[in-house]
Symmetry: C2
Subunit: 271 residues, 2 copies
């Protein structure tokens, strides 16, 4: 059953479950193929009224029993509502030209981030702090978890459906595109010690107003050495000596916050 | 078996598992009651040599079979090494006088944070960004997950053993202590809309060099209304209009990073 999978089916559709994610899917402007209610899930219908009752859209509404819904649900305590949605698709050109309203592109690139909860949390933070696009890519060690898996989608609170998102691109191709479009690449690290051979800068020493791509590596290994050392700069988040590293999603939040802080200020500040 | 529990036993001891956490326990200066190796876990012994072989300490070393270890282990793929450790205990006065090396106290207060992964991640971030102490307290809706549960300890990467940490204190008592010691309280929120009735400030508008306590609320409900409105200030992390909230641990990381950024700078900056 497609609702269960979470990963895009052959048709490119993704299953989302629970009132919050279904609402985000309807709100996102993505094509919603169907909405499914169980008997007890029917109570959520009113919440989606403004989307489902608009005359110009005709979203098929399906009904099932609570027992059947339980069988296809991915969560432990299903709330009786799910939808099948087709995420928008974006090209590499859409990503590198993603600057909005006069702001330069700020692209978040996940390279071998394995935990679906981290992938979702980073996308949620990226959307909150004004990243203009996100990309997932494999590192030499392994792929990035799908942003459309049930766990990623829940952690992203639906942000994966709102962002300009390109999943599963080849890293060399992506880096070549950034070079051609003059988008600077920043290698980030959640570890104090680990960093590339480029200049090491603190987050507040970066000019985040420029066209930028922020590369975020694997939770344990970080970015592959050759990626970190070929980046235009490597960011080191200063930490207490007693601490070796912080959580990958926490590190991403810190960097994207710093970008947002600078982009909201009238003039660049380096304290 | 005490190793399994993770929660302090009657003796106040906590079980920690895996080479990384055992090393953190030995490094923390907490009293380690025993270290347990399974047959295959014995290969980690050399890693702890500097701690276990010091003549002035006599930590009992226990041995067991792989099969018995599996039975008491909390993780799915146990690595064959565990320890029983007694966390240091701190008084309320230790917490409010926790400023170090000329820096004012920066106390992180978790109020009803339910997810043990979030509790651990926030403590790890707090240690990384120079918080001087941490406290867990219940909100009206429910308690904060134990920082010494196996999942919290893993997420904290052992930071719970390094920090000045006071677990499970009464919130009114704590707030009274802060008032008496002239420690300002900041109510944080991971939601754009939700905040107390005090002045709403952006993270960069706060003077983080002052003696401060940062109050972090429940993942879904945030801080209880009466706590948020009685705080000296409420912090709002500016976000894109399309995003309702960010993950509670991500929000904490952002605020503690901002504190660290300001405390490292030679003079206060408000961009």
């Amino acid at each position: 059953m497609a609702i269960r999978g979470g990963l895009p089916t052959e048709s490119g559709a993704v299953g989302v479950e629970g009132p919050r994610l279904v609402e985000e899917a309807l709100r996102s402007g993505c094509a919603v193929r169907a909405v499914l209610f169980s008997e007890s899930g029917q109570r959520h219908h009113a919440r989606f009224g403004t989307y489902l009752d608009r005359s110009r859209v005709a979203i098929p509404i399906l009904h099932t029993t609570d027992r059947l819904f339980l069988g296809i649900a991915d969560t432990e305590q299903p709330q009786g509502v799910a939808a099948l949605v087709t995420p928008r698709t974006f090209s590499l050109a859409d990503i590198s030209a993603s600057g909005v309203a006069g702001a330069a592109p700020l692209v978040v690139v996940l390279v071998g981030v394995q935990d679906p909860g981290n992938v979702g949390t980073i996308l949620r933070t990226a959307a909150a702090f004004g990243a203009t696009a996100a990309v997932t890519a494999a590192s030499g060690q392994g792929g990035t978890a799908s942003p459309f898996s049930p766990k990623s989608l829940r952690a992203s609170a639906g942000a994966a459906l709102h962002l300009r998102l390109l999943a599963g691109i080849s890293l060399p191709l992506l880096l070549e595109e950034f070079r051609a479009r003059e988008i600077r690449t920043l290698a980030s690290s959640s570890r104090e010690a680990q960093a590339g051979r480029g200049p090491l800068v603190a987050p507040w020493e970066v000019d985040w107003r420029a066209p930028l791509a922020l590369l975020i590596g694997n939770e344990g290994q970080g970015l592959p050495e050759e990626i970190a050392s070929s980046a235009d700069a490597a960011i080191r988040i200063p930490m207490s000596a007693s601490v070796e590293s912080i959580n990958a999603a926490a590190a991403a939040a810190v960097l994207l916050y710093e970008a947002s802080r600078q982009r909201r200020s009238p003039a660049r500040q380096i304290p």
